[in-house]
């Protein structure tokens, strides 16, 4: 779902077409190196640096490069122009701890034990900090981690900045700490840096403000109107109905101005952290490391931001579960390529990092390396993408549909993402879509059989 169709960058189809007729070098703006320029396996010094730059609560649709007219993100837009931008990218779980534990381990929340915030990570799963550290990388963590039960120093060799307060007064410092690390790092080894910025997560606190009249009358024309799915199909699983009920406690009396105020604040937070992303990119681009650093940029989940009359996250609607994922590697990865074909998950980051680090990944990772896609090599890719939520929720997406089911709820959801990108009509009860529901139910059941799930307390499985 985007506000407008992206037109300023290449789609993968255009890329493939062009590559058959033109020199591929036209697509590589940072250097003239060929896309498959080999990494020297014999010399560990030649392996690329790996920067995983992550934000918190950034929706895919909340960027100007994705067509949103209410926000201006020149720095992330700049990154998009230098990256492959995977526009069909979803979080493994649309809330902080489960998503982050899945990033770090490459396993689904039902396998990591982190099925809700603050449940500890299963101890016998290696994480990417440990894995890359064991394999010759200097590993550093800066900013937000939020993987419960896995102390940072058990995962990273350097933890110079370990806090995650509100982004409003901490994200500047995360960017400065990355700069300081870069100036002080061990240049004999490649680095893996996980840099976690907080915003726009601060929107969790914004409803305190949004319930008041907008305090700047001269800026009222900046307030976004109701989103196109403010009215929607109310046939929702019980777990989501309960969320609506909780939100109604403070949004029931809200006017369009209050909703607009909330959205306005969210977009200012997105712009706020965009400045920090820009500082990090500037710092890297002006350093000798730039040409040999792979950047993965993503967010742990999005924010409902008024869509479906919801706020925050922890649901499968696109605003909360679909996140930006951009991968930049100057000269090695096409710049400005919009991939709107492949279904990508946050589970894919760990195998991708291992692939570029030239180390075998731990066994049983559930994600797939993005490297073949990034280097335009033929590969078989997934037809279905899975995500989980609230311990009991399961989502599966294919090239057209999204199917949602929660254990303990009889109400299911099916959305046609091609023809109803704002998810306003639940097709699960349409006779003509029973086949799709059955097919996607079977796909969830098939996936469950492949997972090494932990036993969860009954109370958690019953919770709504």
């Amino acid at each position: 779902m985007s506000y407008t169709k992206e037109t300023s960058r290449f789609t993968r189809r255009q890329f493939i077409k062009a590559s058959s007729a033109l020199s591929l070098s036209a697509f590589f703006t940072e250097s003239q190196a060929a896309p498959n320029a080999g990494l020297n396996r014999a010399s560990p010094d030649c392996r690329p640096n790996l920067l995983f730059l992550n934000l918190d609560q950034l929706s895919h649709m909340a960027l100007s490069c994705h067509g949103n007219p209410h926000v201006n993100t020149p720095n992330i837009d700049r990154l998009a122009k230098r990256s492959v931008d995977f526009s069909r990218s979803y979080t493994p779980d649309p809330i902080c701890c489960p998503a982050r534990a899945s990033w770090a381990t490459g396993r689904y929340p039902s396998e990591t034990n982190v099925v809700i915030n603050n449940r500890p990570l299963r101890s016998n799963l290696p994480d990417y900090g440990q894995w890359l550290g064991k394999n010759g990388y200097q590993t550093v963590h800066i900013g937000k981690w939020h993987v419960p039960g896995r102390p940072l120093h058990n995962s990273f060799q350097l933890v110079p900045h370990n806090s995650h307060p509100q982004g409003e007064y901490s994200d500047n410092l995360v960017a400065l700490s990355f700069e300081t690390f870069l100036a002080n790092r061990d240049t004999a080894r490649p680095f893996f840096a996980q840099v976690g910025l907080m915003n726009p997560h601060d929107c969790g606190n914004a409803p305190r403000t949004s319930k008041h009249p907008f305090p700047f009358p001269h800026l009222k024309d900046q307030l976004p109107p109701f989103p196109p799915n403010f009215d929607f199909d109310r046939r929702e699983p019980e777990q989501i109905k309960q969320m609506h009920k909780g939100l109604m406690k403070f949004t029931e009396e809200w006017t369009e101005e209050n909703w607009g105020h909330q959205a306005w604040l969210y977009y200012r937070m997105v712009e706020m952290v965009d400045v920090n992303v820009g500082y990090i990119l500037d710092t890297l681009e002006r350093s000798p490391e730039h040409e040999n650093t792979l950047i993965i940029f993503s967010s742990d989940h999005g924010d409902a931001n008024g869509h479906h009359r919801m706020l925050f996250k922890d649901n499968f609607y696109e605003t909360s579960s679909r996140v930006p994922t951009m991968v930049c590697f100057p000269g090695k990865v096409p710049a400005g390529l919009l991939d709107d074909t492949h279904l990508v998950s946050g589970l894919d980051f760990f195998p991708t990092l291992c692939d570029y680090a030239e180390v075998d990944p731990p066994k049983d990772l559930k994600g797939m390396s993005l490297r073949p896609l990034l280097e335009n090599r033929s590969t078989s890719w997934r037809n279905y993408l899975h995500a989980q939520s609230k311990a009991t929720g399961r989502m599966v997406v294919d090239d057209q549909y999204k199917f949602i089911r929660y254990y303990g709820s009889e109400t299911i959801q099916l959305f046609d993402l091609k023809n109803d990108p704002w998810e306003t009509t639940n097709l699960a009860y349409s006779n003509s879509h029973q086949g799709d529901c059955n097919r996607m139910t079977a796909e969830i059941d098939r996936m469950e059989q492949t997972l090494d799930n932990v036993d969860l307390p009954d109370a958690l499985m019953r919770r709504t």
Partner: protein, 259 residues
């Protein structure tokens, strides 16, 4: 009551004596920060109210007058955070700066030196400590451009275009304290490094709130625009900047004196 006050008035202090803002002075602020999620202790037991406000650092500004239109200040801006409620701070970041700026309505920056350091101070014995820095940076405004230079090898200049007078939290506070600030448009150099261009300083309606049991009339301004959450600057009848309030953080004045 203005929306910006909803969490913080209990931290405001009265300043019955006047401080001459046009003489050398020292201002010290406590930083009170709002958390909306980490209200558990280390045993995962939920504690305290929601939302929760914690003391998470301090800001000290020492300004010196000079016979010219150029002014000078020393700044120590320290932010320290706990992972868990009630736990000792686990991470601390410091900015120490020397700033030359202009005696105008926005405290326009001229040149500055800053030192940045990050110190994890985790209280758990088995943790290692990996402080960073200090990283030294020099900044100046030259022909409408901000130039930031890191002194360490490997990190070269950052240049940022500007359109409006370049100011920062520290010099703005001093300009308001001295009664010299005015509503205008500025480029805001947050933490002396992150540029948030094109922000408006706009006047707010006066308000009256009770501070330490005494009704106090406040007048204020907001810094508002793209890439920032509105920042509200409130002054008492004597022009003491008693609070600078964002959405998740408040700087509250605790000491003000001529030196």
């Amino acid at each position: 009551m203005h929306t910006s006050f909803d969490l913080y008035p209990s931290y405001f202090r009265r300043f019955p004596k006047s401080v001459d803002g046009n003489q050398s002075l020292r201002l010290r602020f406590d930083i009170h920060a709002m958390r909306n999620y980490a209200f558990y202790n280390e045993g995962a037991k939920r504690t305290g109210p929601f939302p929760q406000v914690r003391h998470e650092g301090s800001l000290e500004i020492k300004c010196k007058t000079t016979p010219t239109r150029s002014k000078y200040m020393d700044v120590h801006h320290s932010r320290e955070w706990s992972t868990w409620t009630g736990q000792a701070p686990s991470s601390k970041q410091d900015i120490i700066a020397k700033i030359n700026y202009t005696d105008d309505a926005t405290g326009t920056l001229q040149n500055w030196e800053m030192s940045y350091s990050s110190t994890p101070i985790l209280p758990v014995k088995s943790y290692k400590y990996n402080g960073l820095g200090p990283m030294l940076k020099h900044g100046r405004i030259k022909q409408g451009m901000i130039e930031l230079t890191a002194s360490r090898e490997g990190v070269s200049n950052i240049q940022l275009n500007t359109r409006y007078p370049v100011t920062t939290l520290y010099t703005l506070i001093e300009r308001f304290q001295s009664g010299n600030a005015a509503a205008t448009t500025v480029d805001y150099l947050d933490d002396l490094t992150m540029l948030r261009p094109g922000l408006a300083i706009t006047a707010l309606p006066d308000d009256t709130i009770e501070i330490e049991g005494v009704p106090t009339k406040l007048h204020g301004y907001a810094l508002v625009g793209p890439a920032i959450l509105p920042l509200f600057i409130w002054m008492d009848e004597r022009s003491n900047v008693i609070a600078v309030i964002g959405r998740n953080v408040a700087y509250t004045l605790i000491e003000a004196e001529n030196v």
